[in-house]
Amino acid sequence: MPKRTDIKKILIIGSGPIIIGQGCEFDYSGTQACKVLRQEGYEVVLVNSNPATIMTDPEMASRTYIEPLTVEFLEKIIDKERPDACLPTLGGQTGLNLAVKAHKKGIFKKYGVELIGAKYEAIERAENREQFKNTMQKIGLDLPRSAFAYSVEEAVEVADKIAYPVIVRPSYTLGGSGSGICTNRKELEETARTGIDFSMIHEVLIEESVIGWKEYELEVMRDCRDNFIVICSIENLDPMGVHTGDSITVAPAQTLTDKEYQRMRDAARKVISAIGVETGGSNIQFAVNPKDGRMVVIEMNPRVSRSSALASKATGFPIAKFAAKLAVGYTLDEISNDITRVTPASFEPSIDYCVVKIPRFAFEKFEGVDPRLTTQMKSVGEAMSIGRTFKEALQKGLRSLETKRFGLGGDGRDKLGGVMLRTRDAYEDFFRKARGDEEWKKELKRRLSVPMDERIFFIKYAMKSAWTDEEIHRASHIDPWFLAQIRQIVDMETELLGAHGSPARQKALLKKAKQYGFSDRQLAFYWDSTESKVRTLRKSCGVEAVFKVVDTCAAEFRAYTPYFYSTYEDEDETVPSDKPKIMILGGGPNRIGQGIEFDYCCVHAAFALKELGFETIMVNSNPETVSTDYDTSDKLYFEPLTLEDVLNICDREKPIGVIVQLGGQTPLNLVKGLVANGIPILGTSPESIDDAEDRDRFAKLLAKIGLKQAENGIARTFEEAFEIAEKIGYPLVIRPSYVLGGRAMEIVTDKTGLKKYMTHAVEASDEHPVLIDKFLDEATEVDVDLIGDGKTYVVGAVMEHIEEAGIHSGDSASVIPPYSLSPALVEEIKLKTKQLAAGLKIKGLMNVQYAIKDQTVYCLEVNPRASRTVPFVSKSIGVPLAKLAAKVMSGKTLDELGFVTERVAPKVTVKESVFPFVKFPGVDIILSPEMKSTGEVMGIDEDFPRAFYKSQEAAYAHLPAKGMIFISVKHSDKQKVVPIAKRYHELGYVIIATRGTAEVLMKNEIPCTIVLKLKEGQPNITDFIRHQEIKLIINTPSGKGPLADESTIRSMAVSFDIPCITTLKAAHAATLAIEAMRKHPATVECIQEHLKNDGGSRSQD
């Protein structure tokens, strides 16, 4: 069937900010959809609140709304645009939920908008547990025994019937929020309570536990003529009980016979038909009892998902793109496979390699977090790797994670018994001694049976401690096949260790070791050698990486898309061209502090350099990204971003240069190694990078241009740290050098704090010293992004933070243009930034952070690379800075590019951060120098209050129009909160406060009611929160630690979805926003219009 001509304008809903459970995979899927629908001649209207996305680039859609993803705003957009259809299946759970809400409010009906991709009824059947269950039973599929509950009492009743252990799954949530495994009544009560709260419809499913069963997923597609294909099968290494997003997963499925696999395929076909997804992709999860093969359906997502992004990258089959085409009426056989060109999309990919996905966690950033892996997703990102065997893919995957591991241990980074086993002797010694140790045995048992983020290493440790596969299987339920593969790695390691001192044996083992995925680093560890020596030895023996093609068809047809992975085999399939090539190093797996923003920059570089006629080579390991889409760059290498792997590609491709400043800290960390191997670095020189990152050299530069710095010092030992502290006085900001996202950055107010810090900071970064700065109390923080070509330097934008200095820049809200600084001060900041850039001869992008205290400007830090704010700034001023930067790095001047004067942002924009606290119950939500946010949103409007209002709506922190607010501030804020509280009172809010704050307010004639603290009796503040009587909380932290009342209040606020403002500045900004909204309800405008009306200088591009 050809495409539909009865629809012309299609609204696509994006997925909003990056959160746990919803990473950049939906930028990838949404971008593909926008591109393909526009190619098909449709007018595409896009709504997404996340500016750090390729999909929200003005060129991607016809009309792009960077507006909050709420029903209210969606209706305004629909009213304005009057689309014919809405495609809600590419924006993750957020997009789907929003569509459901809008449908229920009758909005689509009111404006005559048709839902395409999945109809409302189909969404309901898949998402509503009861309906899903009924549907599955109707088609004769087996499910775990289960029943619904709407209250804790009911839940207990059901669980008694089913028998423990049971799983609690709330209906309509995201990434499995609020679900959990309960082995007894007490746990059930707790989990059911949270689950019911989390559920949009206050419903939980109590289910028979299938923990320990084998877990599978099928990625499937169906078209309007009932043609059905399976794109990919996935088997989880971590059996049932761990959320699939937190599991190590493998494609294709490894331990199913064809009969079992086809039975699963048949079931998947029945599921998608019965649910009624007529045009698009779905993902269906199954559990299989390893003892008898009994198969049950777990769940189904009637949309493109994280797993479909993985499946697309794992097979080369672009699911999202084809899902969009199916949604407008095409059938699978009418779509051609881009990779082979000659065959249609109506086939099932076959692969001749093994793919492993490994999740990346960020527990170290959240004090008091429960690191056990459950059915609630906790990971913040993932790396994917491809190898010819599982062993190779697993070890590549582990080094792709960038957790300083270089494979499955044996890399000098195994920390056991509290000691880092840096040498082979220490390593061998440890296991020799540990063998008979009862404590160690217990520890192994615990780490194998309780899933946590490093379980995969403990499998190996257990093997090295003489455990049998059978024993490990009993403890972990991990399939014997995976254990046997890991056993082969361990046996190989033993051989490698034994080859120490014997060059002949080393040479003999090299090829097999590389085929097993061992890195040169690991080999160097086993042989007391260095990475570079191993590399030289390897090359002298002719053991070099070859690159194979990902082609969807296991080589049955010739592939035209250059999508490669490395392995150690006979034949290399790359065909380097004569064109000048530029390599772009990506950012690797998402983590807090390094996410989609950097992928955005890398993608822009690929587009820009293509425009200039270079051949672009992308290297990245993150399957969620647009950068790893095979048509983003000319060549894609899906590889770990380690020196060894990058050098292997350089050997083959011989690029004229490598771009290292767009992928965050990951590529910057490789600069020294690349330079040492003679690889040219494009853009700002490695010396300048060092100038900016080396404290002493940087201080000299600042002194030269007369820029102040907070008093500071560098400590390499405990003693040095105390000396410096004495000299400059508390409070202090401390952090390790060379880190991103404020990892382990803290403010300490006294010696005890310093002592405590020094104990774990050394662990955070052992190769680098600790930096100590005087903390500038209550200073305003400012971020500046700049672009330079070595001669001309242009400020992108000056951003003023709403939260004061001391809160990580990635966690603060920030505003373009500054809203409280004097023009003179802003000019000074710009001037100093340009001088800094000139001092560093910046070629490309630079980001500087300042603190302003008493009208004095202090420089906090300089990053000689693209910053997290580049997409936000680019969208605010309408200039694609990352594109320009890539062109500058390739040799163009800003003059040639027509960007020599600063561009004034036509509107006010506010970036707000979004946090994962809801996934970490009990963790305090206060902001600190340690970055905790996972994503961001942007509010754009005529003035600051409106833009701020939108940013809060977009961040799902709805500012109430009326009602009760709770104020409780730390002692030093008691006076300062008075004028703010007064405004809230004048705006008609009812104020309640704890005694201390209330007394101050009443003394200042602000009416308020005293509410009891937790220990003062009942009803206390927690009851008000629990019953959601409070609509807004203003609570500034006193820093008393996680056991204090205030911390309980804040984490409860998160659980009950009550916005909680933790700084006075933000509380003040909120009053402005509320006032503005009262005068004039919010309006919507697309960015194409926003940017059209500006009067600033126009740059090319």
Binding site: D333, F347, T389, A554
Partner: protein, 373 residues
């Protein structure tokens, strides 16, 4: 144990041997199925071939009694990237290595199978030798080149049954699939065994047929002696044009009985209807081949295993209609006669291994018999 694989055109691989020791010859082909190696090994259509699996991890789930497609493996040799060190499946009774050894079949692992596959794709299927005894590349290549080709050779006589038998087994419990409509009446048919797979017989049984399997050499007259309601033509190995006696038998039965052919059976019908067959460059072997049913417009993902095809243009257009086409390369996948009760497909609706998309063909055969009975 070292092992070597050599192709007639000079490509030689050195790897590790598994299964039995020895030296074995055949046409080197590849299969892109991710699952189902046991069914592939025991499919008689692989007689005369050294089969390479494109998926690197093979042997993971071992061997079990239910997944046999005939009484023993037929491949001449098995080529994999990596043999699993263990088996992991509740149905497994034996490891792949032990199984091959027990049946005297030789395997090789640890070679760059993707390189081999690309070579076969670009230069076509090749004669080859798999050896655990001769490590001399020159000698191996010479042996491969001198080995007999499968073109023009009748391999059917090596795999067909010696005497007629009936087969009334059902699909294994727990793995029943496909919906056989309630049949009014069990239909008696004769299946000519060109190398028939068990699953074809199971599917026929499920769809209401009582099947007598007969040797490929049985004459048309003898077949008619059974007074069957219909005739089934099975899959089988090798070059269809070399099985002249079977083509002759089929020609005599056309019009006399409703006929359904699969794979070699399809080629027999094509030849009997006056068409020609030719050899594909490297064949279709896998479980992901898209086929369009031209009568309904529906697409089936099919299981295939053939190196020869019936040439579309060779069939009399006024008599024979193309019903199925391969969407990858537009080759003929199915035909029917415009007037006479017969149809056939080149692919395997019984799957095993492969997707279950084409079950309707068995119903179609039943209906054809009903209509012409």
């Amino acid at each position: 144990m070292k092992a070597w694989l050599a192709l007639e055109d000079g490509l030689v691989f050195e790897g590790e041997g598994f299964g039995a020791e020895g030296e074995t010859f055949g046409e080197v082909v590849f299969n892109t199925s991710l699952y189902g190696y046991q069914e592939i090994l025991t499919d008689p259509s692989y007689k005369g071939q050294l089969v390479a699996m494109t998926y690197p991890h093979i042997g993971n789930y071992g061997i079990n009694p239910e997944d046999e497609e005939s009484f023993h493996p037929w491949v001449e040799g098995f080529i994999v990237r990596e043999l699993s060190p263990v088996v992991s499946n509740y149905r497994s009774r034996e490891s792949l290595g032990d199984y091959l050894k027990r049946h005297g079949k030789t395997g090789i692992e640890g070679i760059d199978t993707r390189r081999l596959v690309k070579h076969l794709r670009d230069f076509g299927a090749k004669k080859g030798v798999l050896s655990t005894v001769d490590g001399d590349p020159v000698s191996l290549v010479r042996k491969a080149a001198e080995s007999p080709s499968i073109v023009g050779v009748d391999l059917v006589r090596e795999v067909t049954c010696q005497k007629p038998y009936t087969y009334r087994e059902t699909l294994p419990p727990g793995f029943e699939w496909g919906e056989a409509k309630t049949k009014n009446k069990v239909r008696r048919i004769v299946a000519i065994d060109g190398g028939i797979k068990f699953n074809i017989l199971r599917k026929l049984h499920q769809h209401g047929f009582d099947v007598t399997v007969v040797p490929a050499s049985m004459s048309a007259g003898d077949i008619l002696q059974y007074r069957p309601d219909g005739l089934f033509l099975s899959n089988g190995p090798g070059d269809p044009s070399a099985v002249t006696y079977l083509v002759e038998t089929v020609r005599k039965l056309i019009g006399k009985l409703p006929i359904f052919g699969i794979c070699l059976g399809h080629q027999m019908l094509g030849l009997a209807l006056g068409g020609t067959t030719s050899k594909l460059k490297f064949g279709h072997r896998g479980g992901n081949q898209p086929v369009k049913d031209l009568l309904t417009g529906r697409i089936e993902i099919t299981s295939q295993n053939h190196g020869f095809v019936v040439d579309i243009g060779s069939l009399p257009k006024n008599e024979v209609e193309m019903t199925h086409v391969n969407l990858n390369d537009q080759t003929l996948e199915g035909l029917r006669h415009r007037k006479l009760p017969l149809f056939s497909v080149q692919y395997h609706p019984e799957n095993s291994p492969g997707p279950h998309d084409s079950d309707y063909l068995f119903s179609r055969f039943y209906d054809l018999i009903e209509k012409n009975g």
